[in-house]
Amino acid sequence: MRSCSIIILTYNGRDLLAEGIPSVIEAVRQAGGDHEIMIVDNASSDDSVEFVRRNFPSVRILPLDRNYRFVGGNNRGILAARHDIVVLLNNDMVVDRNFLNPLLAGFSDESVFAVTSQIFFQEKGKRREETGKTGFFWDKGMLYAYHEEVDSLDLERRYVPTVWAGGGSAAYDRRKFIALGMFDELYLPCYVDDLDLSYAAWGRGWKSLFCAASIVYHKHRATHVRQFTPEELDVIIAAHQLLFLWKNLTSPVLLLSHFFFLPFHILNQIRRERKTTLLKAVASAARRAPKAIRSRFVRRPPRLISDRALLRGRYIRRSIGSGQQRLRVLFVCPYMPCLGSNAGANRMFEIIRHLAARHAVSVITFYDEDSKTAHIPELQEFCTKVIAVRRRPSLRAPSWFHIKPKDLLREFATPEMKAALRKEMRSNDFDIAQFEYLQTAQLVDIAVRFNVATAVTEHEVPARKLWRDLRHAGAPEKLDLFYQWMVMLRYQDSIYARFDSLAALTPEDSKYIARFNPRLRVYTLPMGVDLSYFRPDSSPPDRHTLLFTGYFRHTPNVDAMQYFVRDVLPGVRTRFPDVRTYIVGGEVPRELRELESHAGVTVTGWVDDIRPYYRRATVFVAPLRLGTGMRGKVLEAWAMKCPVVTTPVGAEGYDCRSGHELLIADDAGGFAEAVIRLLEDPALRSQMADRGYAKAHADYSWSAIGCRYEQMYRQMMQEHSAPRS
């Protein structure tokens, strides 16, 4: 174990030292080894020095001739330290007895610059404003720095990258600290000096790590509240953040955007918060601007990582992320992931369940009806966190130029969802943000801002679906649909371009997405089926019974049944007049209900369990003409050993041949013939059902598809772990 110098800077903090030093001595005793404890006294006017000398003779004292503040005092302490690792502690810190060893063990390789402890507040019940695990994001020309929440995964990972190591509770590599120019006196009296130094270290390729196992207890701002009012401290922090940008930003684009947006931020704060903090901060920072500009030219180790990579990229987050076994994944869903509602909800639920067995998965989901909240406990059983946001469409007109899909924006890009997502991103360092459908994908910018790797699963490619609708529409509708297709194609292309990875359900969808933007990384991750739930039994099916299942808010399902009952069924009835057709599924619209007037057609509406219908069905029909993506109903039929007749659209994405696992027919006559063929030939039915069953088991289990997701995530993480300069 390496030895360290523990430096406690103090100014008139006799009472705080009386509380803190014994805890540090105990921690050193626990850690063992030759460690040094040094009190750096900023020329206190109380009897701090005498007090320490009298009560703690083993502690080294460095009395200074005047108050050099936080920056100057610590710099002098570090220069005087005897060991290569220095631990800086505020005088209002009480440390845990086991705090030291985990901190020092973090310096396992040469690239580590600092390791910081986990901070708890001494006052019980006080909101935990700081944890030690830090992050920042860049938005509209400003840098926002914050502390993140700490969870069990941080303990499991032991060391996680953090943006800056707090100057009051962290261990630093002394040589690197000095090489980087130490704390800059630009930041007198205090604050942001540690961010500045850690940022410079990251730029050099040196890491700052957070260690959750090393714990300190902080009496927050106990020293500074004696000297400054809270308002003055706010101005100091804001001014120092500005100076930090003026000193460190080298990217002309980022600098330009900073100065462009700064007046807007000032006006916004005055208008919304009735505060002038930022205005005062600008005035304060402007006085020190020449010094900040001079600091830009101070000789420091060469910058290897660019501002863009640090502020907007993923360099810090991913610096050790790719090697993690357990990932922290956030799913963003447009509706509640649950079983038995529709294929999309099933898929989301199954993938989440699979991933949650091996990773920490949180879910943010919309719900449109209060009854849907009943599914939250099911998700909570295996998810780290589930947040449900009521879908209340925004009333603001989103596109004055009419080039965006208004309904999509109005319904899903709601202020409530944006706020929830922002809050989650701010408080957790997710490795992956997994968006479901374009509906939520349009919120991707929030995840990008927080440097999280992003993926989207597109269950049905909207522009392709519209194009297919257009081909089947009448002449007057074509123009309308063509305009909507243009709007959607442009919009989805602009959204997809912001993702690290995309997943479509069928190769055709993948191809369609990638065709318009060859830079996209597109995967095909097909639909699956719960093979333990959908199991056949030995009971024989009913005579001449056809089945279709679907969720009828999905318009391709409605079209399929209208087409089948009007164009296909009469052909089947000429050969089998007693044929019965069951249309099973929820959210039945008026036009579908009207189909019950046809002989032998039953529209059941929502049923609790669809398996008995599969068992009774002689043939499963999927006469789909519209929509894209992969149809889960075909898989369910296969898993239940029910022979299937479908269209090329219905068979899309399946690795199968017509006449082998199912029958495929493109027109109404052919479809009727295929159904008749199966109804007439029990041997063919049985053969096809067996092959479909085998196919479902071989290729479409959820565990297999969940593994593909993991593989995709690993690839994404690997890609982002490489430094980008």
């Binding site: 449109d368 007109a397 004055w400 009419h402 442009r490 055709e508 990384r521 095909t524 593989q711």
Partner: protein, 216 residues
């Protein structure tokens, strides 16, 4: 007598003779719930049909109703209007609640072949669109003009369709042409669905049958 002319020519409404009614929920959910409660409490003898916007009122989806305005094309919107006109409702309720983005539903209400048309404001105060209530209508419109928001929004919307839409449309055409061109170029690079893009190593992540992923 039905439709817009009934506003001027129909006799004053006799609510006891109403049998069928259409509630057009051209407002956000909190108002929609209040209007529905009002209608069902005061007029339980009327067979109500609810027309709700697809995205706005999840709370109504499973209740007694006929229509949802999820029609995305002009043709389907026309179909909806014709279906409503054929239903010949005795009374049509529409919400004029000073909110943005429900314009088409309000217009639909006016075209719905009603016998009587009743409008609600955000306080769930209501009056019939009838000659006897012209003073109320005038007061309502003046109030809206004074409070600006809805009128300003309507004006901005009209401006956006007349002036900004053509600009947007030209941009759309150019952008989509570019995408199609790029699509054509990319299609030439395509190899039988195996290669998804220049950056994509594969469109499928190969799997072993036991579910473990293989390196590509």
């Amino acid at each position: 007598m039905r439709g817009l002319v009934s506003i001027v020519l129909a006799p004053p409404p006799d609510e006891s003779r109403f049998r069928t009614g259409l509630m057009i929920l051209s407002c956000s959910e909190r108002y929609a719930v209040a209007i529905r409660r009002f209608a069902e409490e005061h007029y339980p003898f009327i067979a109500w049909t609810i027309l709700y916007r697809y995205d706005s009122t999840g709370a109504f989806r499973n209740s007694r109703m006929m229509f949802s305005s999820d029609a995305i094309t002009v043709r389907k919107k026309l179909d909806l209007l014709l279906a409503i006109r054929r239903s010949r409702y005795d009374v049509v309720y529409t919400a004029w609640t000073n909110e943005q983005s429900f314009g088409p539903l309000k217009v639909l209400g006016l075209l719905s072949n009603f016998r009587y048309h009743r409008i609600f404001n955000e306080n769930i105060d209501a009056f019939y669109l009838h000659r006897s209530n012209f003073s109320n209508l005038r007061r309502h419109l003046l109030w809206r003009l004074a409070s600006h928001s809805e009128i300003r929004y309507v004006a901005a919307n009209v401006f956006s369709w007349i002036v900004l839409f053509p600009l947007g449309f030209v941009y759309l055409l150019l952008r989509v042409s570019f995408l199609l061109l790029r699509g054509l170029v990319t299609a030439g690079r395509w190899r039988g669905g195996g290669q998804t893009s220049r950056r994509s190593p594969s469109d499928r992540i190969p799997m072993e049958k036991d579910g473990s992923a293989l390196n590509q």
